[in-house]
Amino acid sequence: MTDQPQGKGQFCGRTRREFLWESGAGFASLALGGLLGNGFFAGQSLAADGLTQFKSPLTPLPAMLAARAKSVIFLFMYGGPSHMDTFDYKPALYPLDGKTIDVTTFGRGGHRKQGRVVGPKWNFKQYGECGKYVSDLFPNVGSMVDDITFLHSMTADSPLHGSAMLMMNSGKLLSGSPCLGSWVNYGLGTLNENLPGFVVMLDQTGGPISGAKNWSSGYMPGQYQGTVLRSEDPPILDLQPPPALGGGIQRSVLDHLRAENAEHAIERLGNPDLSARIASYELAYQMQSSAPEAVDLAKEDEETHSLYGIDQAKTQDFGKKCLMARRLVERGVRFVQIYSGGNHNDNNWDAHGDLKLNHDKHAGATDLPIAGLLKDLKRRGMLDETLVIWGGEFGRQPTAEYSEGTGRDHNAYGFTMWMAGGGTKGGTSIGQTDELGSAAVESPLQVKNLHATALHLMGLDPNRLTYFHAGLDRKLVGFEDEQPIWNAIS
């Protein structure tokens, strides 16, 4: 038992509180404590009037630090977008097109020392006051560069989708750990008890590889796992009452159920689980109306639809999801993750074959919606408190994977991600890859620095936010202390 605040050097220290988790929250009262939070007693006067205010299991909790952001929107470019064809301008690479050069790479094709350069397939031009070079794949995002902080020296521990996806989402190569969205909700609770605190929207072609492992709460309880939200009805699994309970029948059932359960509880004093369960039905009922409202895009005007590209076939799907994300964070959802790309191969950014075809498709579907999201957040004054993260699980190599074609293999040695809003600087670029874009050479950043930055901006100390599991105080950023990317923060 540690008798000091946790932190440096306290690898295995933990508090009794965490043991309650470790022991499976087996205490009967825990669930109630969790469910009703600190407002439990305050709520009782209302309950005595028969007008109980039910509290969410994710009741808001005080932040550790001054929070810069309230919510995160993570735009996950699954498959690994090519940085040298999007935001990492490499003029030296164009003239080398087709030439075989010495370069160390590690991707799906294993370790290589040499390769045939694929020159960038798009031209770059300068945007904004900062004069940032952005490729023709992202003209609309280009127009927002003064709000964007580019991280050009990202690195990951794996250049293979399975483990790299888990790394980007949960900080670990091994499956079974909670995701960034779980940590944020564990640390902060939600601002809207009628909506899930961690929402995931998937591509139409399917989930990313490893499916639900990418939004799992791992060893934390299930309330911290991501909820999959769909752009068609019903938005959440089992949210909609079945026909048998339609037309107000469900409300009658719930009223009767509550009366019956109350009767049952009378004879069972000292069993708070029973009351908590009664309360959970009211929360469920409220979610049924809140969630569809939150994603009802008919409430948005035509101009907004058009801003997000919802009026164009190519951008409609991703545009809808971006607009839904804005509506969700507006309503207090802490963490929204949208996948661009799903399934396998060219259904996502994994351009092993024809780079042009692949990236034209995926950038074409997302450029306008992403820019629309940034503009919309900004004009509503929400960008300051919403951290937007863009990127994939890794980038791509400057050289071709096969003897023919333009496909690039995976590259975890150096790639680009970017952040906007939520207390980040904007108009800034951090770190550099070499002139080929093959590896980070200046200020290399790791995934844990990105995670630390997100937690820090959300008001959580990445080195003190811990969860005791299996003999260790677990942190999202690993055992050692890690720093946020300070020069990305305004």
């Binding site: 929250a25 499956s175 769909r230 089992d238 009658s252 359960n261 009351s275 039905y281 799903g342």
Partner: protein, 945 residues
Amino acid sequence: MVRMGSLVPLIWITLIGTLISTLMIHTAANTPASALVAVADELAPPTEETPTPGDSRSAPAPRWCDLPLVRPSIPQVQSTTLAIRSDLDRIWLHRLQSMGLEPAPPASEVDLIRRLHYTLTGLPPSPEQVDSYLADDTPDRWQRLVDRLLQDEQFGVHWARHWLDLVRWAETDSYERDRLKPGAWRYRDWVIDSFNADMPYDQFVTMQLAGDELADETIDHHIATGFLHLGIRDDEPADPVQAVYDDFDGMLDTTCRTMLGISIGCARCHDHKGDPIPTRDYYRLLTFFEGLKPYKNGGGNGISTNNFVRTLPVDLGRSNYQATVQQWKTERSERLSEVNNLLTEVKERWGEDVLQQARSSLWRGQLLHLPFSGEESALKEDRDSSRGPGRHGEGLVLDENDRLLIDRPVQDDFSISLWFRTDRQGAGGNTDLRWFRGTGLVDGEIGGVVNDFGVSLVGDHVCVGTGNPEVFIHGPQGMANGQWHHVVFTRHRKSGEIVLWIDGSRVSSGSGGKQALDAPEQLSIGRMLPDHQTLQGSLDEIRFWDRVLDASEVLDLAIDGGALPAHQQLVEERLGMAEALRLNAAVTRLGQLSPPTREEVQVLSAQELPTPAIGHVRVRGTASVKGEAVTPGFPQILGGQEATIVPPSDGQSSGRRLALASWITSPDNPRTSRVIANRIWQHVFGRAIVESPNDFGKLGLLPHDQQLLDLFATEIEAQQWSIKSAIRLLVSSSMFRMSNQFDEESNRVDPENNHLWRFRSRRLSAEEVRDSVLAVNGSLNRSLGGPGVYPPMPSEVLATASRPGQAWGQSSPEDAARRSLFIHVKRSLLHPLLLAFDMADTDSPCPVRFNTIQPTQALTLLNSDFTGKQARLLAEKMSRQETTLSRQIEQVLYLISQHPPDAQRVERNVAFVESLKTEHQLDENQALEVFCLMAFNLNEFIHID
């Protein structure tokens, strides 16, 4: 809208009054660290052993759990209110009395029956079971009920789940491909069987760690070692060496936590800060596992399944199979030469023509013959195939991705005959024997439920089938043995009957669709029609008829002539009756002579390298950086001895794991029986005595009552580690038979009920929720064992998979109603209801389930397809069984809780159903269905008192 009734405020107020002290502590439970530092001190557990001044750093006093286990002395204790039934009761009551606590009064009989049924089987009692117990007035009825439930095979299903939580049992690897672990289900079945057979716990542990290293092993010993291979496995790791050590770490970590209550993970990278476990201890322990073949031998996305999956004969080759085969061969060849001699004589004396004439009827209706000797004009495509030695002259030789196509010659009645030879098992393994999963022989597979058919080699079996409806039949094992085998597949359109013949014997039949099988335009030879899975071997003499061959015709093809009645007639005419009878006898015998088969199973099991690796410390946990060399040995806190290793005489392994198992199960090991005793206690009384069951160390919690735990542990040892006896002891106690009645005074003294002054009520577990819904409406399929089943998965969930269409299978409605333990566990696609109700995490050992209460649980029980459908079935059952609404309601309420509702309650619920009809215009059936759905949401259904 009706708000909560007038009685409710009373509950809330009372709750506040009685629970303040508890809640003051536990509302903090899911607050992040920052908010809690302040309260952490005040929550400090009882003080640890006081360190001895001066020497505490060099030699810390052993922890309680590392001291020898000694049976505590039993106090004298008396009670006027309850029966003292055992020494456990004495220690428990003595402790309560010393704290001034009064045990709760005995529970009601119905509460007890319900509680016992769930504790032992995870299922509710049926009304008949309750009635017969209540009607029984013999004094030992409780013991007889206990014994009966311990004998019920559902006991093993329920208790296996507790163990499977600890060993992170799942049937796939996780990561990109989330591959199936072949044979993982056999391990699950072995655990069920072991609990049902009451296997002593020491044997149970030993078999899992080192079953293969024991003398006189059986197939079960190999299946049990599947324990070692249940973890996650990255098929495409960035650092393959590290990944292999992650795998070993998973084995060691699971072993230490599950069997010893030691959390050792920290010591992989640095000396453990909590318990005195240096890094060297970790690597000495790891060495016990380092002899195992690794799951990966190289890069790429392959997994070396041959290193842990193999096909073993069920008798492990002990019976003299080869002799049986030899005997069969001898007799077959004798009979065949008899046939041949007679026919040769006819041929020599009267010429080939008479024989051909006798056989001509066989070719009636033959539409296509592919002899593979010379040009084959029927082939529409021939990709890379070659010709070589066939069954008759030349034949087709296939390898890699070769493929041949022909236009489909048949669709209604047909017979397909072929010869094949291979020594490589077909695709699809040996558990799921559906033809389209296999390797092509003659195939017309078209995706979906369509009018198709085919013949393939699945694993070690020939399988055939027809589509729409999908019907599959298969032959015996042993088909990939390098010998020529003859296959005939017949189909009779009018009856839908399909028959499979192997080497002249009819081996299986089935009933399929009766329509024209015209979906495939073409048939693929030697490869599946969707262009995958080529047979790596030879094919010859493929023939198609538009009629169904009979038994003599099939045998004639299989023995190359002589079995037709026409042959017998020919011999009789030319050689006389006696010779004809000889021919007849020989042919009959040939028809009866099926090749001896040997039952083989695919098992997930331990296999060791010929030379086990020398162990090393891996510096800071980095597998590729070797430090000091280490030998297998035990941790310092438990003595620190070197292991005594005796390699088994079969030469197949190092004996290291057996040495580890012997040490764990040694009577001198102070931890093992305490750890299992604590777990059994946990599952009977809702919480363990040491509430961190996987960690008895310094970072774990102290026992609420060490004497009670130690006594129970010694009792288990005294019963030769019989789990059933241990459970019997607990459920026979007065502790188990208490009610959960609340008491303000006791609650003040022991608000967490750590000392069990009242029974702990609990919510049903995820599996119990689903199984109980099915049990209540009578649709639960209680059969045990076999490969995992696939209940319907909501399309919303399937859409989350990276290959939405291929992620989940489909089971029959009967299989979909199996107990939850038998649902296939795919790590990346878990069952939503089980997930909502806190099923165990699949990736690390789960000692105690979370017990959350969340709105998603309410949404699942109210709105899911599953509960909607089950409510409908319950309503239908009630409509059939009972005539009046009040009886239907009474019966439903009784079924969900085993408590008969009083008249007032029935009346209130009748009024509710009536109001559904009037206010929402529901008919009788609809209203009853809604009522049944409501009933599945009642607290009395989901809670056990």
